[in-house]
Amino acid sequence: MSDPRNRQYTNGEITVFWVPSKCIHATTCFRELIEVFNPGRRPWINMEGAPTRKIIEVTNKCPTQAIVWKQNTDLSEEERANLRQTVREEENPETLATPTGRSEEPVNETTKPTRIKPTNVRIMKDGPIVVEGQFKAIGGDNRELKPTTMTSFCRCGNSRSMPYCDGTHRKIGFTE
């Protein structure tokens, strides 16, 4: 069952799939390739903005697989049909109130290295705190928040899905 907010875009050669529910606003895509991934534009993905090779390179860097790609020759029947659909009202990663924290596959502890890397706490410029690693988050009442290995915390003070980022920083023009 697919989310009606999901989108797909093609340049005739490859198709990029956008799954907003997976986006944690790590902002990798548009910091690296604004010509293609521009949250201020509709549609927000412009497949003509860069060569296929470059689009693949940046799509592969998405930490949550909110954007993924496929060769058009590998598309399923349903995906092919979706490409012909008229694009309805566009949504993008900066305007959606995205549920953050994705559910993870169960971790097989025996295959994991014994030494744990320090958790990475990335301060995004004019954006959220992106956290990745083996961590636990608790609320003010000491209740544990949804377990995950990657999430993003609001830094602008205005998210509507506190304590997580929902992209509001961009709308209000949050700067350091």
């Binding site: 320090p118 706490v121 301060i123 988050a137 003010g140």
Partner: protein, 63 residues
């Protein structure tokens, strides 16, 4: 989740408190802090970002 090595505490109306084994990096990938605890601004009003400077007490930040 026994392998958890870092704790994030979301203080209501206050900063994000980080303890344990972690490193804070800026958007350029440079490590700017790795000693615990660290208090990161959540209200958007700190003059010492990304760290908390107590501004949340003055700007009415409550969530």
């Amino acid at each position: 989740m026994e392998k958890v090595n870092t704790l994030f505490k979301v203080n209501e109306g206050g900063p994000l408190e980080v303890t344990g084994n972690f490193r804070v990096v800026n958007s350029g990938g440079k490590i700017i802090e790795n000693k615990e605890p660290v208090y990161l601004c959540r209200c958007g009003g700190s003059s010492n970002k990304p760290y908390c400077d107590g501004s949340h007490n003055r700007n009415g930040f409550s969530i």
